[in-house]
Each structure stands twice: as C-alpha cells, then as structure tokens.
Point group: C2
Chain length 372, copies 2
C-alpha cells in the first residue's frame, strides 16, 4: 500500500526534476495543475504534523499601491540579508559601505520632505535632532525619541535617521534620533546604555507625558527594552510607544520565521545575517535575557502602544506575539498590518503611499495619548 | 553564462527528484542545506518579479498554546476544503452531512459552556437565540446579532450556532443567530434579504445603540454588507461590529490567497470549494457587487469595528485590507491577529485559550462602544 502510494508520485517527481532548472527562473510556467497539487498536498498533509507546502511562484499582488508593488517585486537585498562577515574587520567594511550609501540617500530624502537635521549630544551620546519645516501648535511641547533599526549592526550615523525624518515630516514632531554604539566594537549592553542615557536626559528637556519612543525592527525591540529598563530603574515612562515590527526575540522564535521565509524580500531568512548579528550583539549573553529579547519581560504598566507589520514580514509573528502579550498585560495596544509588505518596508521610501499612511496612523495615535 | 547557471542547478534538481516521494511524507529529512537554498533562491529572486519560494516543511510553532498547536498540526479538512459538488443534489448531500455532524457537536459545546438556546423567528426568518447562564447587569439591555460562516453553503440550522454560543458564553451577551437561506436552493440575495429582515425587526426589540453585529468569514462579509445596506435603506446602524476574517471579496483578491495557500489548513486554497461556492451563491451576479464583496463599498460612517485573523489565515489579506479601508474612511477599527492560526480556527474549539481570548477582546470592544 505504502509502495503503491509512493510510486504514484514518481511521474510528478521526475517531471519536477526535469523542470527544476527552469522552475528557478519561472515556477509558474511549470507549475503542476490544481488537481495534481490537490492530490499531492492532501497526501502530504493527511496526518497531524508539520505543514508541507510546495514550491511556488507568488505573484505581486494588485492590492497594494503601484509604488509598494514595485517594492514587493524587488529582488532580495544582497548582501544585506545574507551577509556573514568572518571577522570584525569584514563587519566594519560592510557596515561602513552600507552606511555611506544610506547617509547619501538620507540627505536627499530630508530635502524632499522639508526636514532639517542637526547633530548634538544628549547624556554624552551622539544624537541627530530632526525637525519639520513647521511644528503644528499641538506638537510644540512634544518631543519624540527614535531608536533606529538595522539588526544592531547596520545604520550607524546619518544612515539611521530615515525613520526619524519620516515621523518629523508626516507627524509634524521634533524627533531625537539616537546614534547608539554597536558591534563589532561595542556589543550589548552599549546600545541600551546609550539609549537609556539619552532617555534619562531627554525627560529633562520635555515633560515625559508629552513624549513618545518609537523605532522599527531592532529599534522596536530596543523601544520595548527601554520601557522594561525605565520601569526597573524608576525612570519616567513616555506617554506612548510605537514598536514597529519589533525584533522582540533574538532567537528564531515565531511562526512567520518559517511561513514567510523566502517570501519576505528584506530579511528573507533568520539564517541570513540575523543569526550572526544576534550572536555578535549578544556577545555571549543569554539571547533570552529580556534586555536582549524583551518579549520575555513583564509588560505590565507599559504605555499605550501601536505596532506595525506587513503580511509578508518575517517578523509578523514577533509583532502579533508582542501585541497579544501587551494586551494580556492589560496595555492599550493597537495593531496595523499592511498588505504584501515585507519587513520594515514602510521605512524605505518616503513617497510610497503606505509609508505616509503608517506614519500618519502612528502620529494620530501619539496625538491621542500625548499631553500638550 | 546562462547555460552554466542552469547547469549548476541540475544536481540539486536530480536529488530533489529522487527524494520527492519521501519529500511528500517529510520534506525536512531531504531539505537542501542553507547554502544551497541561499544560492538557488538568490538566483531565482535576483530580478524584479514574482517571489519564487521553495517547497518546505513548516514546523508547528511553539508560540501558540498546546491546544492551538494541535489545531495548527491538524491535517487539511477533507472534504470541506476541496469539495466540488457537480450539481444541486450533490451539494445538498454534502451540506446535510456536514451540518448533521456540526449540529451534534454544538449541543455538547452549549452544555459545557452553560449556554441555552431557543429557536424562534424574527421578521419571518428562522433564528436561534443563545443566552449565557447569567447575563451580567451591564449587558441586560444589550443584544447581539450573529451571522454565521460557511462560504454561503455550509452550516445551515444548528450547525451555524457555534460562534453565537462562544460569544454568549465568553461575552455574557444574549445573541440572535440568523439561520439565513443558502444555495443551492436560495442563491444571492436570499441570505442578505434574510439577514436584513432580522435586523429590521431586531432594532425594535432593543435600542440599536445597545446592539452589535458580528460574524466570521462569510458572516464577516455579510456583517459589512449589512451595514452598507442599512446605510442605503436608512435603517439604524449598530453601535459596533466585529467582522472576523471577513470574506469581504468573493474574487481571488489579496496577497495571502497566495502566500498562505497550502499553509492554511482550513481553507487551503481558493481553488478548493471557495471558487465554486462563490459562483453558486452569486448565481450570475457580479462578484464585485458591494453586496457580494463589501470591500468595494463605501465604508464612510461605519460603526467602530474590531477585526480578527491569524498569521496562517488565507483571508489575512482580506482582513487587513478591510481594516485599512475602514481606517481610511475614518472609522475606528481595531485589528487582532493570532499566531499560527488558520482561517476562523478561533471558532472551532471553545476550550482553546486563544478562542476565549478572541471573544473576550471582542466583548470588551463591544462593552466600550455599546450603550447600556
């Protein structure tokens, strides 16, 4: 019986084999018809266990804006996603090269958005302060703090100011962007020490009830870890937070690490650079320490939070798990998920309509929760 | 150059072919290593276009409750997901068989949940009225209306009362569950006519400001279509709605129809029964008519809404697209997405912790928006 069932798949197997070199270029041309897939998939998923899915070519959806569709269609980001530098020198070379390109792009973005930027230091830490052309009256006594993303390795300096510029422009806020120290020279806890040093001084510049902390990816994880540490150290909390698709768990935990593996065209797979970046940053510390993976911390008493992700995001699970954990702790927490979006793509291009939508929603959430 | 690149894939292709019969049982045993996948995937996704993903075995995540994990591990639901009856008699036979099993299960569920049920008629339409053992004082003057799911074909009669029972039990509300007419005998607009006939009379039983409409899948789509029609006909609107993973578009539209195809173990693929059910229900009407696919309607003036989906849900895109469209129309709308959940699985087993969480969240949302 078993042999007969197995033999039944052989013609399909051989066809697949002969087709595979072409499949790599265009799966759809050789895709088996529905009846074939139905039979093989029913057989492969007929018992409790892992979900077996066939190789596929997934079209660009027509349910996103044309600008976002172009982003969804974009190739994998090489070498960003699968970088695996062999030593500190190689890491630095890669980081510097990507940061130089990022910084150059940011200058043009600020000009188009009408956002100005100055460099400064707060609590001994290098920061950028981004301001829109005009701050609306409601936001004159408000101040935001941004923690940039990049897996604790990418986006030092001006390259890390993109999200702050978007919030300054679309939200009409003054934003402090923290240029925290990173590996390979400065592993954990340098980044968190810098972020907290800035927070401790920033609350003297403005009433923390008029302030929010936000950040995406690594910046989202750090936002959550900052609240955990502020609670522990008895520091004031901000009135709201916006952890965007937060790297709230540095271990490979969460279903979309697998369901969206090879689908997300930004991060692609945990086995790309993420695994290496997590190890480089943790520097031997337990990855499940709540200061590294805040999902393992206690969210009781957290400020209202708005979380953002996309349906193709490798961190969609991290986002919804964080959202659920906040809700279970009794925290007011909202979730927005964007069609077809891979990890953090709302930060990539200021002129994609969904980008403006993300930041307008976050700004509106802040407006409802921040004092004036 | 092209030939060399193609030849490089041949050994992998042949290995895959020889392995495929086994792959169908257990992909992971034969899965290519990361370096191989990295190379083939980078090559296949090196130009703008569709996303090419390899066949995979996706493990059951450890980030859901043990009870939900068992549901995630469950095999595809045959024949529910891929039923393709050839004529009205075959449809009826299938529907009756599934409905009998569903009704039998519901009786046990109500007993365990302490929910009572009576049959009645409102506006000439058969309804079930479900009540918890005790209605909390805050809910004594509140009344909910539920529209069941099932692709406009499944769950006639008592089989369609499961979600109403869950809301009665976990929310402490009295719930009217509408046993609307369905194909093959009664295609569109019978279901909507019945739902509206009940709504028109129900608002005489209770102040609509103390009422909400909710439903999942087809019931979520109908909830949205009911608001569109109530607006058009000048009927009172409820104070809140809860469209759960709504079938808000009967055409195959939305990215997760493809990204979660073969991943969702409930609906599995649009090319299963959904395509046939949509055609049977529409009966020649335009599938994009907002009364069939409410996503094409005008959401301005809608009551506050809470939407629910899961990361593996084939309708995750429909849910987030509906959420975004509500927000763009200025409607207060919340979104909750559950880890690893396929389509509507929160309705399947009352004793899965995530089920209780879903309904507790919806009940709390209703409590914030309904008058007393």
């Amino acid at each position: 019986m078993k042999i007969i069932r197995l033999l039944a798949f052989v013609p399909f197997a051989l066809a697949a084999a002969l087709a595979l070199p072409t499949v790599v270029r265009d799966v759809s041309a050789q895709a088996p018809d529905f009846a074939t897939l139905e039979a093989t998939q029913n057989a492969a998923n007929g018992k409790p266990g892992p979900r077996v899915v066939p190789g596929r070519s997934i079209p660009v959806p027509n349910t996103a804006s044309p600008e976002l569709r172009a982003m969804i269609a974009a190739p994998y980001r090489i070498p960003n996603w699968d970088a695996n530098p062999k030593n500190a020198a190689e890491w630095k070379q890669l980081i510097d090269r990507l940061a130089a390109a990022g910084a150059a792009a940011q200058q043009g973005v600020r000009e188009k958005l009408g956002v100005s930027m100055e460099t400064s230091a707060i609590g001994g830490v290098k920061v950028f302060i981004l301001s829109p052309k005009q701050i609306p009256p409601a936001n004159r006594n408000r101040l935001l703090v941004n923690v940039h993303g990049g897996g604790y390795v990418y986006n030092p300096g001006e390259a890390g100011t993109g999200e702050a510029a978007l919030m300054a422009a679309y939200g009409g806020f003054k934003v402090i962007s923290i240029d925290y120290r990173m590996p390979p020279d400065f592993p954990y806890p340098a980044a968190m020490d810098d972020a907290m040093a800035v927070w401790q001084e920033a609350v003297k510049l403005q009433d923390p009830r008029n302030m929010a902390i936000f950040g995406t990816s690594t910046g989202g994880g750090m936002t959550l870890a900052m609240i955990l540490r502020a609670k522990k150290e008895g520091l004031p909390l901000p009135a709201a937070i916006a952890p965007g698709t937060p790297w709230s768990d540095l271990t490979e935990t969460g279903d979309t690490y697998k369901t969206n593996e090879w689908v997300d065209n930004v991060l692609v797979s945990y086995d790309g650079y993420l695994r290496h970046a997590a190890e480089l940053y943790a520097n031997g510390h337990n990855l499940k320490d709540p200061q590294l993976s805040p999902i393992y911390g206690d969210f009781t008493g957290f400020p209202p939070a708005i979380l953002t992700s996309g349906t193709r995001d490798l961190f969609l699970s991290l986002t919804v798990l964080t959202h659920r954990k906040l809700r279970r702790a009794g925290v007011e927490a909202e979730l927005q998920v964007f069609e077809g979006m891979s990890h953090a793509q709302y930060n990539f291009d200021p002129f994609v309509p969904e980008t403006k939508e993300v930041f307008t929603e976050i700004a509106s959430f802040f407006d409802r929760h921040l004092g004036k």
